[in-house]
């Protein structure tokens, strides 16, 4: 209780009041929202809110702090709320919140151990009526948290610990664009949106909610409802309110009287579940079986096909650095060779003049000194400024996994290599879900990572020593306009690749058991459709086929064989009876930016779709 009391900072006169997660709860191991209410009871103050959490890290670097900072101006006698998405791993250390000014610091430490839930959360967003989640069966391990729509976080990462979001009788009209975008990204990344119908069907026709629904809501009517799971018992509920729909785009799971009652639709890696029944009003709200019925809607999805993170470590990075293009970015080997040659040639000429004794020794000495001074100055200026040597090189290698519906789940290996001792500010685009720095063998223990909130999206501050680097792993979910269908029917493998994105796919391949086909390019705006006869598929032939694929560019070769499809990855989702389509994205859009022309950026992006083929008897 004492910990919950706000602390008062005497000099700055600012009170800090944090709000953790959703209703004070978050899922362990996932990012969560943190709101800090600042109450200035004194004079105007300019300061920085800093939140510090700890990551476990891995040996040899060990635990390291992650700091989130936001500059804040507080007028006199003003209140303000500052939001962060924090991601602690080591809960043994408290979460520290500080408000720093030039002269004073107000701080507060929070013990997170009383706030976490081991299971994902279920968020219930409802304006008027409530759904009877409180009486869910004891076997339902997830915590259900009710909150208003406006409390939804504007950052998809903050929803990482949420498995289901239930919307009932609510308007999303007041949601800001970042909140809707976060909802979209969270869904595409594997979240589940459960929309329960209501008598107020007009709310479901608002564009902000209708865009998520797998059907168009047209009205409401009463029906006789029989629970499909207990259809044998013959118990029916008369006069249940249900929404009438048209234009169903998803899969109708159950229906009644010709009306779809339960419709599911995929949304990237996630899904939208639409229950047309009004479960918050009588007579359905009085039904004993309602909690169990609702619990079935909140069941976890079937095991999703997960692909392992691409391999990324110092050995692989060192191999990439040995590529000629990378060396050429910062090592002027050729220029130095010619400079040394030119300098020696000048000295040899002076030596020749000295041997011929045509010039006075004093004059020759002056020529020699002049030549050396000129060569020194010109070379120094060229190699330090004019040699186009960058301050750093940002390497981003992305593998985009097809996530249905034009969405891709992109894992990006990032390496920031610096030739200077300086700080870099790295920003990420929309759909950014995760960023984890990787431990380095020679990293200083406990080196902090700092997220600085200066604009709409936080930027990561990375201080680097001269001739050092930092490896990071980031994850995005975005709509790339790429989708692939692979189907095996009647001994024919059919492939359809739709490229509605802005970039061409080059060097495309199809690899299936006993088959390896180079497909060339799939240009932006085009669709590639091919059919192949599969007479005698060889078991596990696909995996063997990957190793034989070669690319002209060495970086592609290294990334493909060692990072995106590592041999040691077991069990590899692309091994066994799978069909794999992949292609390199030409001139990919930047996944991360440093916002500095002195930092050269190199991007590599591979799009892939992995499809499990049916067994022979399934066909």
């Amino acid at each position: 209780m004492l910990g919950a009391l706000p602390l008062r900072a005497p000099a700055a006169e600012v009170l800090l009041e944090p709000r953790i997660g959703f209703g004070g709860v978050f899922q362990l191991g996932h990012p969560f929202p943190l709101q800090v209410d600042l109450n200035n009871v004194g004079r105007p103050v300019d300061g920085v809110v800093e939140v510090e959490v700890w990551k476990r890290g891995v040996p040899p670097s060990g635990a390291y702090p992650v700091r989130y900072r936001r500059e804040v101006f507080l007028p006199a006698r003003a209140k303000r709320t500052v939001g962060f998405t924090v991601d602690p791993e080591a809960l043994i250390r408290p979460l520290s919140i500080r408000f720093k000014t030039d002269t004073t610091i107000a701080s507060r430490d929070l013990d997170l151990r009383g706030h976490f839930s081991p299971a994902p959360l279920v968020l219930s967003v409802s304006a008027g009526g409530t759904l009877p989640f409180t009486s869910l069966a004891a076997s339902f391990a997830n915590r259900v948290v009710a909150l208003p729509a406006t409390a939804l976080p504007p950052d998809a990462r903050a929803l990482g610990g949420v498995s289901h979001l239930v919307l009932y009788d609510v308007s999303l009209r007041d949601l800001a664009r970042p909140q809707l975008q976060a909802l979209d990204d969270w869904l595409a990344a594997g979240g589940a949106l459960v929309v329960v119908g209501s008598l107020n069907f007009a709310l479901y026709q608002e564009p902000k909610l209708a865009r998520f629904l797998p059907a168009r809501v047209t009205g409401a009517t009463r029906i006789r409802f029989v629970d499909p799971a207990a259809a044998d018992s013959g118990n029916a509920i008369e006069g249940v309110w249900t929404q009438t729909v048209s234009g169903v785009t998803g899969r109708t799971v159950s229906g009644a009287h010709g009306l779809p009652v339960l419709v599911e639709n995929a949304w990237g890696k996630g899904r939208v579940i639409y229950l047309a029944l009004d479960a918050g009003r009588p007579p359905l709200s009085n039904w004993d079986g309602l909690p169990r019925f609702l619990q079935r809607l909140l069941a976890p999805p079937a095991t999703p096909g997960t692909t392992p993170r691409p391999r990324w470590d110092e050995a692989l990075f060192s191999r990439l650095l040995l590529s000629s293009w990378f060396i050429a970015t910062y090592i002027p080997t050729r220029a130095l060779f010619f400079a040394i040659l030119l300098y020696c040639a000048g000295l040899a000429l002076l030596l020749q003049l000295w041997r011929r004794r045509r010039h006075a020794p004093r004059a020759l000495a002056l020529y020699c000194c002049g030549w050396i001074v000129c060569a020194t100055a010109a070379g120094y200026l060229y190699f330090s400024r004019g040699g186009r040597a960058p301050d750093g090189v940002l390497l981003a290698a992305t593998v985009m996994d097809d996530a249905r519906g034009g969405y891709v789940d992109a894992h990006t290996n990032l390496a920031l290599f610096s030739t200077q001792q300086r700080e870099y500010s790295m920003g990420f685009g929309p759909g950014w879900l995760d960023l984890s720095p990787l431990a380095l063998a020679r990293a200083a223990p406990g080196q902090a990572v700092e997220f600085r909130h200066t604009g709409p999206a936080p930027r990561v501050q990375l201080p680097l020593a001269g001739w050092s680097y930092r490896l990071l792993h980031a994850r995005h979910v975005e709509r790339a306009g790429l989708s692939t269908d692979i189907a095996l029917r009647d001994g024919t493998l059919r492939l359809e690749v739709r490229n509605h994105g802005k970039r061409d796919l080059t060097d495309c391949w199809l690899v299936a058991p006993g088959m390896r086909v180079a497909l060339g390019e799939v240009r932006s705006g085009s669709t590639l459709t091919r059919a192949f006869s599969v007479d005698a598929p060889a078991p596990n032939g696909g995996d063997a086929g990957l190793q034989a694929i070669a690319f002209r560019e060495k970086a592609h070769e290294i990334l493909f064989h060692d990072a995106f499809f590592p041999k040691e990855s077991t069990p590899a989702p692309w091994s066994g009876r799978t069909a794999l389509f992949f292609g390199w994205v030409r001139d990919p859009q930047p996944r991360a930016d440093v916002g500095d022309s002195r930092v050269r950026t190199e991007q590599y992006t591979l799009y892939r779709a992995i499809v499990q083929l049916p067994l022979a008897e399934d066909e």
């Binding site: 060192s318 191999r319 650095l321 040995l322 990378f326 060396i327 910062y330 090592i331 002027p332 080997t333 130095l336 060779f337 400079a339 040394i340 300098y343 020696c344 000295l347 030596l351 000295w354 020794p361 000194c369 050396i372 060569a375 020194t376 070379g379 120094y380 200026l381 060229y382 190699f383 330090s384 040699g387 040597a389 290599f417 030739t419 200077q420 001269g466 001739w467 050092s468 680097y469």
Partner: protein, 244 residues
């Protein structure tokens, strides 16, 4: 001009007898600098090898400059062309101070010309390695300082055993190596290469205790070399006085 200095400069630079020392210095350092940037020689360390380019070049430069200055002081280039010390001291009757100053000035000229010749290579290496200007400047001061501190003992050896060049060369090399090794064993930061590596890399020199005390390594190093060099100049005068 000092007659000893005039004679030495004439033989070394006007006749070109000292040019091999300068050309070797330039050739070795230039080749090393280029090879350090060539991938096959660095293997997987290629990516960060450039960062150490100036450090390696500077440490190589200090060794080479001191070595060739020591050889020049020890009269290992065209020894027959130089007049013996007893000629200046006894036959011409010059005071010890004049001869000592002439030889020391020649040594400074040799070190200065070496520095002038390799300056572009070091500066380019510094630019490629992104070495801070302060480290560059410090390195350019330290290299001739170390070279003088060690090579002055070549003058001592010459004055002590002028008539026995065959035994003088191994003696002065052995003595220098012994001083370097013993100093390194007693206190690692006393080693000039270790110190140059630290200064060129803009890092703090290694802090190692000496007899339980932890002094500032840079100051200890400079004091030691200052004392060592000063002892060399005093011993040189003393040895010249013996000839007279």
């Amino acid at each position: 001009m000092n007659p000893v200095l005039r004679e030495h400069l004439g033989i070394f630079f006007r006749e070109g007898q000292g040019l091999p020392a300068l050309l070797y210095l330039l050739g070795i350092l230039g080749l090393a600098e280029f090879l350090l940037l060539t991938p096959p020689y660095l293997g997987t360390q290629m990516w960060s090898g450039t960062g150490s380019l100036f450090k390696i070049c500077a440490s190589l430069a200090v060794v080479l400059t001191a070595y060739f200055a020591l050889r020049a002081a020890n009269r290992e280039y065209a020894p027959a062309r130089f007049k013996p010390l007893c000629y200046w001291l006894r036959e011409r009757g010059y005071p010890v101070g004049v001869v000592a100053r002439g030889q020391a000035a020649f040594l400074c000229a040799q070190v200065a010309s070496s520095m002038l010749l390799i300056a572009p290579l070091l500066m380019w290496a510094g630019a490629i390695s992104r070495t801070p200007p302060a480290s560059l400047a410090a390195t350019f001061v330290l290299i001739p300082f170390y070279a003088l501190c060690y090579s002055v003992w070549g003058l001592v050896a010459l004055a002590l055993r002028e008539r026995a060049p065959d035994s003088r060369e191994p003696m002065i090399r052995g003595f220098t190596v012994m001083v370097v090794v013993v100093a390194m064993i007693v206190y690692l930061p006393l080693n000039p290469v270790v110190h140059i590596l630290a200064v060129a890399g803009a890092e703090d020199p290694p802090r190692i205790g000496i007899f339980g005390a932890h002094g500032p390594p840079g100051v200890v190093n400079l004091c030691f070399h200052f004392a060592y060099g000063a002892a060399g100049f005093i011993a040189h005068r003393w040895a010249l006085a013996r000839i007279r």
